[in-house]
Symmetry: C2
Subunit: 233 residues, 2 copies
DNA sequence: CAGTGGTCTAGACCACTGA
DNA sequence: CAGTGGTCTAGACCACTGA
């Protein structure tokens, strides 16, 4: 497990910053100084510091120098796995049931749906994700047929919409909202819960370039599914 | 707004991948080929492709070449703001009430608490976050006095524990778990809810180096607070 | 206007690994 | 074992901007 020189330089300064030996606002040595200290070329120093700047630990300003960034936001990485994989990773059998599927015009009263549809229509899929035949998540999804024309030909019994989209349609931008709610009676029935039971709600929208692709709302019965986020290591 | 050559190469391939012109698994030209195509040195090509690899759009394998990645998980950035700031950002008055505060030995039956305490003790703080005097979140926090000795002197009426820690103790690693639950009656009373009401639960642990710093469990009444995650732009 | 980082060149040797 | 990417060198010119 040999570390390259640029990784060495990077991790040296990462350690100094995270340990507090270098405090926010403090200036780092200039590249010339580090070239001498590490006995390497300027390109190597530059790559190391550039990657720290990309990671947000330092800021580089021409003529002024390189500085430790001011305390960063509490931001963590949230991994939202494909549900089919998540279920199979837990050693359970996965199945997706289509409850409702139709292609329709966007509801004119919903600016959200009009935005999503663009010049095309909307494919709406309501479905249920099952783990070992037990309801795992209830999903309502809208897909822009203008942005994803191939979607109308997909057999969702083979590949649920989320899985298919993940594999076939790259997105460049996404937003998610996570909240708790009490299920309504219709939803409760599908999920085999008492009405009013707590559920985790996850709503996501995705874009490719400026174009809306899909939006989805998923309900997970509490105790069935936890989201996990992490930072570091 | 001039674009550097490496940015040009990077964005050319980013566009090809995002538009679907290059599909997952497809091979990209080798660096020699791209040097000729762009009339530049290999280092420039290498930087462009390395940054795409870091971003996860491509994978590079020695001898085999460079390939468009197969997308795996939706990984997004989750921002967990300091609650005092989050409340004030919504234009509401913020207040923190300490419900319980004590320094104690770790419970010997809890390996988790023993791990957290290390050679020291545990400061436990239970408290309530208020927005315009309405309960916003109920918090139970454990802090290692060995890792954060200064914590015992802090007046939490001035600065709630989360805010103080964010400002004074850098962490290098964190894990969070997010779930929905039905509140128990004790908790419901503090939050002015009916027992069994749905709440969003957020549990976090933080480390500095290998050392545990704090762990916290926060309950948010549903409708009171959504977590937001995003990716891109 | 001089110090600093941004970018680039034209080479080089090496590590890895799949044909 | 040969093709590919990983890393590095010792230069260079330039853009930006703060002293």
């Amino acid at each position: 497990m040999k570390q390259s020189l640029q990784e060495q330089i990077r991790s040296d300064f990462e350690d100094l910053i995270l340990s507090g030996a270098l405090v926010p606002g403090e200036r780092l040595p200039i590249e010339q100084e580090l070239m001498q200290r590490y006995g390497c070329s300027r390109m190597t120093v530059n790559k190391a510091l550039s990657s720290l700047a990309t990671a947000g630990l330092i800021e580089r300003r021409k003529r002024a120098g390189t500085f430790v960034s001011r305390p960063r936001v509490h931001s963590m990485t949230l991994e939202i796995p494909d549900l089919a994989h998540a279920v199979r990773d837990r050693g359970q059998r996965y199945r997706f049931i289509v409850l409702n599927r139709r292609i329709r015009k966007p509801s004119a009263s919903s600016t959200n749906e009009v935005d999503l549809a663009g010049n095309g229509k909307i494919l709406q899929i309501d479905g249920l994700h099952l783990a070992d035949e037990i309801p795992f998540a209830l999903e309502k999804r809208l897909i822009s047929t203008a942005a994803v024309p191939d979607i109308v030909k997909v057999d969702f019994a083979v590949s649920p919409p989320g899985t298919w989209l993940l594999r076939h349609v790259p997105w460049t931008q996404a937003e998610a909202r996570i909240y708790a709610l009490a299920v309504l009676s219709v939803e409760a029935q599908h999920l085999q819960l008492e009405p009013g039971s707590p559920c985790l709600g996850l709503e996501r929208q995705t874009w490719r370039g400026g174009e809306r692709l899909t939006e989805v709302r998923q309900l997970f019965p509490s105790e069935q599914y936890d989201l996990v986020a992490h930072f570091g290591s």
